[in-house]
Amino acid sequence: MNTEVKMDSIYAPSEDVVVREIEGEVIIVPLVAGVGNMEDEIFTLNETGRAILAKLDGKSRLKDVLESLSEEFESPAGEIDRDVIGFVGELFKRNILVEASEG
């Protein structure tokens, strides 16, 4: 499986996870086998991770998400790319994010 993150791709949360918010914490609960490792490896996202995940809505290309985040966090273009791509890559590798088809 190719786990390379592509700037032109569109990403969205997988249907194999349930994204929940409890007491302001985002918790990603695996639904099927092979996503995370149940209790030992449930993802919790910090505030920034949460802002990124909200933009990975199955409609926007990753490069547009990066641009929008740059504006939101008032960072010069390119500065946050490595972190965001790393974040998307980690979630993609764990099947928490999937590539959504266009349109």
Binding site: V18, V19, R20, I22, E23, G24, E25, I27, V29, L31, V32, A33, M38, E39, D40, E41, I42, F43, T44, L45, N46, T48, G49, I52, F73, S75, E79, I80, D83, V84, G86, F87, E90, L91
Partner: protein, 381 residues
Amino acid sequence: MNKSFVSSVPLPESSLWDTMGKKERSLLFFDLEITARCNNNCRHCYINIPAGDRDAMKRELSLDEIDEIADEAVQLGALWCLITGGEPLLREDFGDIYLSLKRKGLLVSIFTNATLVTEEHISLLRKYPPRVVEVSVYGATRDTYERVTRRRGSYLAFTRGLNLLSESGVYVRLKAMALRSNANELPEIARFCRQRTMDYFRFDPVLHLRLDGNQARNEEIRSERLSPEKIVELERGDPDRFRTLKKECDELIDPRFSQIKCNHLFNCGAGRWSFTLSYDGMLHLCSSLCHPSCVYDLRKGSLTDAWNNFVPRVLDMKSDRKEFLERCHVCPLTNLCLWCPAHAYLEKGELDAHVEYFCKVAHSRASALGYNRILSVDGKE
């Protein structure tokens, strides 16, 4: 913006608990008794109704009702859910109930006797893994197992179901109740369990009475209870258990319990972090608390109303009974004792009544752990 965006941490280490720790109450988990019916007829069982009981079947919550209540529980923040019974696999819509809870983002565990496990259940649980499946083991041999379950063929069905679960890779934990009918086989039961699971094995030697108050069945349960001396002997005979009891006895036996000044009845986690939903739609603060003033009919109201308005009123219940305030309420052995208002009600019909049997068991345990000093201070046994 050079910080990490995402943390992958074991849930117990999540900062969620810091937030929760500052709260007095917050819904974390709930037990869901999807049926009180069971295909076994165990001598010690506090809930079982015959599998074919049509009245019980009619009173059971439907899938839609469960779905609606679970939605509210999730809205209130619940993360864990235990599906229990009766025997939950008796329900033909078990798979739909299970999947519906999973799809809400709940971490779901299942209690079962394993006798009804099918290939279909296994496919479902492999694809959508539960947090854990806990199976009760009533005996290590057919004779003992069926002496407890009083159903011919149940041992074979149990071993078949357990093998299916174990071979599937689903996380299985085993546990036992110790009663007169199987106590002599407990070492073999422990061995049976330890051979079949990498996880710890636990047994519970203190039986509690029926939720429905059935007097004939209660007499049976009382006759199956082990003496305090036998309970201590069994606990001593299980090195892992006794070592843990010894190690934790400073927390288990805490003289600070004696300093409690309030006269509230409830000092446990029930209704603070959890609730139990019984098969007929009644909300209980815990599965054992059946006093009519402490239950709420969710078919006539909402979980949000029950959790936010009714449960705090129950938690605020007090007692002025001198015997309670001077004895069980301030007993340092409370963590070694089955006594609580719920069990006091099941035993005596009063939430603040003393229960001699539980008291004797707790004091025998404390004595075995070397806490004679507290016994003499207490001076009431």
